[in-house]
């Protein structure tokens, strides 16, 4: 318990550092959002309006440190200001919608990839030099080493454009009405299938290889040998004794992958025009939408930290050794 609190403390400090960097970084960039917004109206605004805009965005309120303090207090209350690109929607609302789609798309893709890859790794190690072990790792590593955007565009071109099996973009069809009904869910799944598949294919090889390699060394260990000598069924030996131990290193990578889901699906969302975080981030940068950028970076940072903390928790549960060294 004390260990968990200590870890929590560490994550709080890390979160503060991230929030602070998040504040200063965009201010180092040339230009400011008020001028950007002013430019978007292409001369239809009177020059005096630019000062009014500056005031609206809080860019005139005193020196940097007082801006920083205001920013901190807003962050704590979950207020991230008003988006410039999507004016006048508040940043929290803009991010909220996009967050849902990204969590759904990239989150399930990472979970799927981890689960399938690890299981294939177990199979490859168990039937060593079998067909799974001979063909799959090299094929998947090949797929994984292709530039991802190329893979995604090739898949979109072939299965979406040429064969027409999948829609070309967006999270759901324009004529669908969002709601919890079967037709809409099916539509959303159809739209997510191809982007999800490309992520899974690109990342499967890594999970497979890492699981396979640890499995092989674990399978040679005495406790697996003893489990076999105990007359346990092969399934129990493999899952309960070997895979349970071999999974531990993969769990760490899985946590990191989960953390990067929010920021890392940028290319997928651009290629498939998927309305998630990555797509939003590009919009924000294009429009010099500082509040939105800050909001997205903040969410990404917090997601990485939260995922790490979850891995800590899962590790405590999976491996008793960490429980003891912790207390």
């Amino acid at each position: 318990m004390r260990y968990l609190l200590k870890r929590l403390g560490f994550y709080l400090v890390a979160a503060w550092a991230a929030v602070t960097i998040n504040f200063f970084l965009p201010r180092l960039m040339p230009g400011d959002p008020a001028t950007a917004l002013f430019a978007r109206f292409k001369g239809k605004l009177a020059p005096e309006a630019i000062d009014a805009l500056r005031a609206t965005f809080g860019l005139t309120e005193g020196p940097l440190w007082s801006q920083y303090l205001t920013y901190l207090s807003h962050v704590l209350r979950g207020e991230m200001g008003v988006s410039i690109a999507y004016f006048p929607a508040p940043v929290s609302q803009v991010i909220g919608t996009a967050l849902g789609w990204t969590l759904f798309l990239a989150g399930s893709a990472v979970v799927l990839s981890f689960a399938i890859g690890s299981l294939l790794g177990v199979a490859a190690a168990w039937w060593r030099r079998g067909w799974v072990d001979t063909w799959l790792p090299s094929a998947l590593v090949f797929a994984g080493s292709l530039p991802y955007f190329w893979l995604a565009m090739a898949a979109l071109y072939l299965f979406g454009f040429q064969l027409g099996w999948f829609p070309l973009g967006h999270a759901y069809a324009d004529d669908s009405v969002p709601g919890w009904n079967l037709a809409f869910v099916v539509d959303v799944l159809r739209h997510a299938a191809l982007p999800m598949l490309t992520i899974v294919i690109a990342t499967l090889g890594g999970w497979l290889l890492s699981m396979r390699n640890t499995m092989i060394s674990v399978l040679g260990s005495d406790y697996v040998n003893l489990a076999r000598a105990k007359g346990l069924s092969p399934a129990r030996v493999v899952l309960r004794y070997a895979a349970r131990n071999a999974l531990l290193p993969s769990v760490t990578s899985f946590g990191m992958a989960l953390g990067f889901v929010l920021g890392g699906s940028l290319l997928t969302e651009i290629v498939f025009s998927y309305p998630g975080q990555g797509y939003l981030l590009v919009q924000a940068v294009r429009n010099q939408d500082y509040p939105l950028m800050q909001g997205i970076f903040l969410v990404i940072t917090l997601a990485v930290l939260a995922a790490n903390w979850m891995v800590d928790l899962v590790y405590l549960w999976l491996d008793a050794r960490t429980r003891d060294s912790a207390s």
């Binding site: 040679g220 260990s221 005495d222 406790y223 040998n225 003893l226 489990a227 076999r228 000598a229 105990k230 007359g231 346990l232 069924s233 129990r236 309960r240 004794y241 349970r244 131990n245 531990l248 999976l318 491996d319 008793a320 050794r321 003891d324």
Partner: protein, 319 residues
């Protein structure tokens, strides 16, 4: 003469590698009588541990059993299929591994590792199995509630006791101890061996005790088999072996150990080093290091013959 519990005939185990095969157990004949303690001694790489794993048929590739038969309780172990083996393992033959640290699963409790052995073979509830796990631990001198512990929370000696409790879980008729005390200090070694002997008297199982510690083995076992370079050199009652070894290799080994009792003798080591199994010497494998060797020793493999009742040696000069 009672029926042997385990009867190994002409057993060969090979490790097949890209650079050719290596025979780790070569034409072995050996019996284990019910309820006896048979010691198996030999240098590292002489095939002792390979033999232990071959008996349970858990040898990992590239090792293969290429010849021979192993009769155990009326069946040939080498002819059983995987399902039959699964039923026999641990129920009839169990094993204590060399390193207790590595032999216990680090992520589950020791109780779970005992109960899953019980439940793999007997149709009992988890609660009953768990209760028995506690009793088994008590039996080897560990408080029953330690079954909720994980391996890393126990000392080396306790872990090895857990290994013994685990081996006795299903009251098998043969327990193989594969260097069970190598990783422990001398005092703990002695305690554990005494405990095994005590349990063996109560439960009557036979023990196959594998070690390279000849002195301890002679003290602990009823009979001793000495291996040299994958072959049996000598087998006989421990007392007879201590006072009157027949094979020049055993003689050399005994001279290399200091004696606490009796006449003070000069310690002597055997010249040379154990041969490579990839390219073993011709004829008697000990001949390059043997003081008594003659030309014939390099030419033909010596027969294992009975030099005294119940005492066999693979040397034409043994008496």
């Amino acid at each position: 003469m009672p029926e042997p519990l385990l009867s190994i005939r002409d057993l060969c185990v090979d490790y097949i590698t890209a650079r050719g095969s290596v025979r780790a157990v070569d034409s072995l004949n050996l019996d284990v009588m019910p309820g006896e303690i048979l010691g198996i001694a030999g240098e590292s790489g002489s095939g002792k541990s390979t033999l232990a794993q071959a008996l349970l048929r858990t040898l990992p590739p590239p090792a293969v059993i290429s010849r021979g038969s192993v009769r155990f309780e009326g069946r040939d172990l080498l002819e059983l299929n995987e399902a039959e083996l699964q039923k026999l393992r641990w129920k009839r033959i169990s094993m204590v591994f060399q390193s207790a640290m590595d032999a216990l699963n680090p992520v589950t409790t020791i109780g779970e590792q005992i109960t899953d052995a019980i439940r793999a073979h007997e149709n009992v509830t988890q609660a009953v199995a768990d209760c028995r796990a506690g009793e088994l631990l008590e039996r080897v001198g560990i408080a029953g509630d330690r079954r909720r512990s994980f391996a890393h929370q126990l000392s080396g000696g306790m872990r090895q006791r857990v290994g013994i409790a685990l081996a006795l879980a299903l009251e098998p008729s043969l327990v193989i101890l594969d260097e069970p005390t190598t990783a422990l200090d001398v005092v703990v070694q002695r305690d554990i061996l005494e405990q095994i002997r005590e349990l063996q008297r109560q439960l009557g199982f036979a023990v196959m005790f594998i070690t390279h510690d000849l002195a301890r083995m002679l003290e602990f076992s009823d009979r001793v088999a000495v291996f040299y370079a994958a072959r049996l050199a000598e087998v006989g009652p421990s007392k007879d072996m201590t006072t009157n070894p027949s094979h020049p290799y055993t003689k050399g080994l005994l001279k290399a150990f200091p004696r606490v009792h009796g006449v003070r003798e000069e310690l002597a080591s055997i010249p040379g080093s154990p041969p490579s199994l990839q390219n073993p010497p011709s004829g008697c494998r000990f001949h390059p290091r043997c003081g008594q060797a003659v030309a014939a020793c390099a030419a033909s493999t010596p027969e294992v013959r009975e030099v005294r009742p119940g005492h066999w040696a693979a040397c034409p000069f043994a008496v």
